[in-house]
Amino acid sequence: MTATDLSLATPAVAASDNRSAPGRPVRSRGWRLVGYAALVLAAAGLLLPFYWMVVASLKTNSDVFTIPITWLPDPVVWRNYLDIWQRSDMMTWLGNTLLLSVVVTLLQVVTGSFAAYGFARVRFPGRNALFLAYVGTIAVPWQSYMIPQFILMSKLQLSNTLWSIVALQAFGAFGVFLMKQFYETIPEELSESARVDGLSEFGIYRRIMLPLSRPALASLALLTFVTTWNDYLGPLIYLRSPELRTIQLGLNTFISQYNAEYALIMTGSVLSVLPVAVIFLLGQRHFIEGIATTGLKG
């Protein structure tokens, strides 16, 4: 299994036991060439901005925009990566973002999977109406209720604290929805026989469902982590003090402060993307699985 192995995740492929060769075969040589040409072209278009980001971050400032365009940095300016730590609060921003992402992810995974079990496996009056309320809010744009939410958070004295972002992100309907979809694929008989053996609902959740749902939990954790890491509007509204800034806010203030330092701005951008990129490459199999099975994101 390579690091770039995305196909395992799509359910049909995983199920068909056709792991090494997904998709339909291409017979004629001509079509294959056309296919490769299209792939290379598409990949170039998709990757160009990232290539530009990395290359510009290693250039001197005056080399970023030259005519004709230089596609390789010469000289290679590694110093940019030292300078940015001295000229910005990168450490604080990364620290805040990491803290938030980890706490939100933990809460989302724990309370989300717990609630999902209640919705998927325990029958009680009002369950469906309650679940509908959860799903319904997924379709409501956040911008349309962010104002009352902000008022409420201010009343709870949460605004301008890191807790506001935790409160905002940790109890979303998305986690509940994703985990419920997954629990429903686990055969009911499994829980039935456990009930006959005298296991409580909580026991079934902990001993049977939790171990079985590790891939789904991992996918939820990764998605939540990345969403929280990249969130811009939430921190923009709630985190007013400079020492509370997340990487997205920090980077944006840095950009407006040093708007002519093109190379350094790119260095900051690379640093803001790097942690997520690493996590994505490590866990991408689960990412794709989560999306392919539910197709939703908060």
Partner: protein, 287 residues
């Protein structure tokens, strides 16, 4: 209360408390604030439909609405075509498809701020690689992109499509893999051309996925905000001002929470009715 009710609620409660207070309650309160003149400092005073009447005469509101529709009308078909095209391409047995799938998904997980700043450099009218490329293929007067009020919206739409196509590509890929291979074989035996196979096997097989993707894309397009805020700030002038941003401006910058809530209700109503219409159309087509 039965044992099941207690058990069910105890599972749901930890999440539900947060969800009810922070999501459900605000959604309900929104419908109250929209009929008041609340501005954070004073008391909320009931003003009836005054906010909505004001909106009717508010040129900036109509500009924001028009721009949002502009973004949506181009972003949806472009992203549909691009993501379906990518999915078809990456559903082939070609060397390296897995690498390409990762590449396609990568823009989706990177942050808006980084994306916006890089694309602004790429779009730079005089020194940017995009215009250099256009110049090389013989375009004499390449557009000013984010510095021009005509080209700023197309620029934003290009970046939006680039960012989201990988995500929808995955949904299409998952859909493609549910189409039985026998259908293609049968079509081939009957002598169907690749185009005929696409129209008569692939497209019908993807109906559910396409529907789902369109619903998600519509809501996502109407909500567009971060990308525009960081890339153009709504400008130049009001050329890329969208509804979400107008709500943000009116509330968090100008403290007119009542009026902003009224605009929010319009955004909510649009998203809600489009979703309902899409579901109804899909249901009728299925029956």
């Amino acid at each position: 209360m039965s044992r099941n009710t207690v058990a069910g609620w105890s599972f749901i409660l930890p999440n539900f408390v947060g969800f009810a207070v922070l999501t459900l309650l605000p959604v309900v309160v929104l419908f109250y604030v929209a009929f008041t003149n609340w501005n954070v400092f004073g008391v909320a005073e009931w003003t009836g439909t005054a906010n909505f009447r004001r909106m009717w005469d508010d040129a900036s509101f109509w500009t924001a609405l028009r721009n949002t529709v502009y973004y949506t009308v181009f972003h949806i078909p472009l992203t549909l075509a691009a993501s379906l095209g990518l999915a078809l391409l990456l559903n082939r047995k070609l060397r390296g498809v897995r690498f390409f799938r990762t590449v396609a998904f990568f823009p989706y997980i990177t942050s808006i701020v980084a994306i916006a700043v890089v694309w602004n450099q790429l779009f730079s009218p005089e020194y940017g690689p995009i215009n250099a490329l256009l110049g090389a293929v013989g375009v004499d007067n390449p557009p000013g992109w984010t510095t021009s009020s005509t080209w700023s919206m197309p620029a934003v739409i290009i970046v939006g499509t680039w960012r989201y196509m990988g995500y929808y590509m995955l949904l299409f890929l998952a859909g493609l893999q549910t189409i039985p291979a026998q259908l293609y074989e049968a079509a081939e035996t009957d002598g169907a051309t690749p185009w005929q196979r696409f129209v008569h096997v692939t497209l019908p097989g993807l109906r559910h996925t396409t529907f789902f993707v369109t619903v998600l894309l519509t809501i996502e397009s109407f909500k567009v905000f971060d990308l525009i805020l960081v890339m153009t700030g709504g400008g130049p002038g009001q050329s890329t001002l969208v509804l979400s941003q107008y709500i943000y401006q009116k509330s968090f910058e100008e403290n007119q929470f009542g009026y902003a809530s009224a605009v929010s209700i319009v955004l909510f109503a649009i998203c809600f009715s489009i979703t309902v219409i899409q579901f109804m159309v899909n249901k009728r087509r299925n029956s």
